[in-house]
Amino acid sequence: CIAWGADIKRMVAELLQKETGYCRGYGGSMHIADITTGNLGANGIVGAGTPLGVGAALAAQVRGSDAVTVTFTTDGATNNGTFMESLNLAAIWNLNFILIIENNQYAVSTPIGDSTRETDLYKRGIAIGVESHLVDGNDPLAVHDLMVEAVKKCRAGQGPILIEARTFRHMGHHVNDPGKYMPEDKLKYYKDRDPVDRARNDFVEMGGATAAEIAAIEKQIQEEFEEAVEFSKNSPEVSVEEFREFAAIY
């Protein structure tokens, strides 16, 4: 969202339930959306983003636009019926749609092997004639290159495309989940391959940025978040009066 131009101040304000939030504090962390920047919103219902994304791609095709819609979903969502229903619709209509499965191998605490016999999730796309890829989700440059290719292919009429980005969590599902169910050795394997560390090293190695430049960017990010928190704390509370007016439309 931030790469697409979302304002961190308004995102943090939404988390803090303020009037200045993207959704006036009516949506919350699960539902931040900003139609103006093409962010159609996250979802509180696991798996629901896939049909909605296919719908946005359908809208683009109907209006003759070459816009590409990307939905980020998860391994946990792939066993929901709408996953196949909507990916299949995208396939029969050749939509400019890219589905990224962030396969972190756990649905809350259930390991992927308990949810499906075939843990190579990209194969599901192949089953219905969708070009499908597996990529190391902890390798940011590999993900980037594949995405660039996928967007090109969509625009050339070869969509939809499915990408399984395999990764792992570094902690539990939510703040009160210590994540004890994750095996130590596997956790260590993936922590040693932290995508942020990898990106940092890759950039320096490839000469894209110096260590000092990266440190400066990170400092700037830190400051922007601090500013956003400050902005949100100083933002007005929502108005109950205005809420009652809003409620009248229902």
């Binding site: 959704c23 139609i35 629901a48 909605l52 719908g55 359908l58 019926g81 619709l89």
Partner: protein, 333 residues
């Protein structure tokens, strides 16, 4: 004015709105080449092409979901679902997505999504093809619930649905597609939230929607022979509901009989009855009567199907009770 069928009126609405706005498109099972099970979409494929008139696989959750997604992204999709019973497969998309989006985005996001489907009994199509499920949608804030009873209302309301920006459950009735009625020439639009008096009367108010409007009109004709002048009012849209029209009529007649094909329990009729008792209690000369379907899945057998949903005689009996001409029904019945 021309006399046309309900299904033709629906087709005219879609045709006119597709011609007027390139964002309007329609998807559904067998709606393109075949023209739909009720012939509503006949000829639209030839006129508007395969981009805007699309057949889908049998995948209601997916179809409804992509319709909602397209609406969020600014298009104006119509998703045709063969039977309202099948819409249950897409309830997450209707209830958790379409209905919530406007509020969840603080009012910035809109969902101009129209789901056209049909319900009600229709001559032995059994339990999974005969339901009247409007109360489910009625109880979910964020949805508009539309139930046209005549060709003119069907056309005008569908055209309005395709010009406003909230998700619409457009609930047709399978028994009505071949019925005829007068439809105004030229542009004909019916706004949501404006009911219609289908027959004027002074003795009792009958409130009915969809196919029950016709049962109620038949009952009113019979009551007229008995010297009773029933007013039949049709809210046309259940959300938003034309409360003012209902209360005004009840203030005039002092009596209300609400007729719904849906089962009695948890129905829209109960809610309208509660509105009348809360806001017009001192106007009433009799308890509000509800005539509704039995609390039972609709059986296949035609004789039993008939018993399961209100008939003309049930409406006549309820009106006579409210006029104190016959004894009240026992609470246990």
């Amino acid at each position: 004015m021309r006399e046309i069928m309900y299904r033709d009126a629906l087709r005219e609405a879609i045709d006119e709105e597709m011609a007027r706005n390139a964002q309007v498109f329609i998807i559904g099972e067998g709606i393109a080449e075949r023209g739909g099970s009720y012939k509503v979409t006949e000829g639209l494929l030839a006129k508007y092409g395969a981009k805007r008139v699309r057949d889908t696989p049998i995948a209601e959750a997916g179809m409804i979901g992509v319709g909602v997604g397209a609406a969020i992204a600014g298009a104006r999709p119509i998703v045709e679902i063969l039977y309202v019973d099948f819409a249950m497969l897409g309830m997450d998309m209707i209830v958790n997505q379409a209905a919530k989006f406007r509020l969840m985005t603080g009012g910035n996001g809109r969902v101009p999504f129209v789901m056209r489907t049909q319900g009600g009994t229709g001559g032995g199509v059994a339990a999974q093809h005969s339901q009247s499920l409007e109360a489910m949608f009625y109880s979910v804030p964020g949805l508009r619930v539309v139930m046209p009873s005549t060709p003119a209302d069907a056309k005008g309301l569908l055209k309005y649905a395709l010009r406003q920006d909230d998700p619409v459950m457009f609930l047709e009735h399978k028994h009505l597609y071949m019925t005829k009625g007068l439809v105004p020439d030229g542009e004909h639009i019916v706004e949501f939230g404006k009911g219609d008096i289908k027959r004027e009367g002074k003795d009792v108010t009958i409130i009915a929607w969809s196919n029950m409007v016709h049962r109620s009109l038949e009952a009113a004709a019979e009551l007229a022979k008995q010297g009773i002048e029933a007013e039949v009012i049709d809210p046309r849209t259940l959300v938003p509901l034309d409360k003012a029209m209902i209360l005004k009529s009840v203030a005039k007649t002092k009596r209300a009989v609400i007729v719904q094909e849906a089962c009695r329990r948890g129905g829209v009729a109960s809610d309208i009855a509660s509105i009348i008792q809360a806001e017009a209690f001192y106007e009433l000369d009799a308890p509000v009567e509800i005539v509704a379907g039995l609390d039972i899945p609709v059986p296949f057998n035609l004789a039993l199907e008939k018993v399961s949903v209100p008939q003309k005689d049930d409406v006549v009996a309820a009106v006579r009770r409210s006029l104190h001409l016959d004894a009240y029904a026992q609470a246990a019945e």
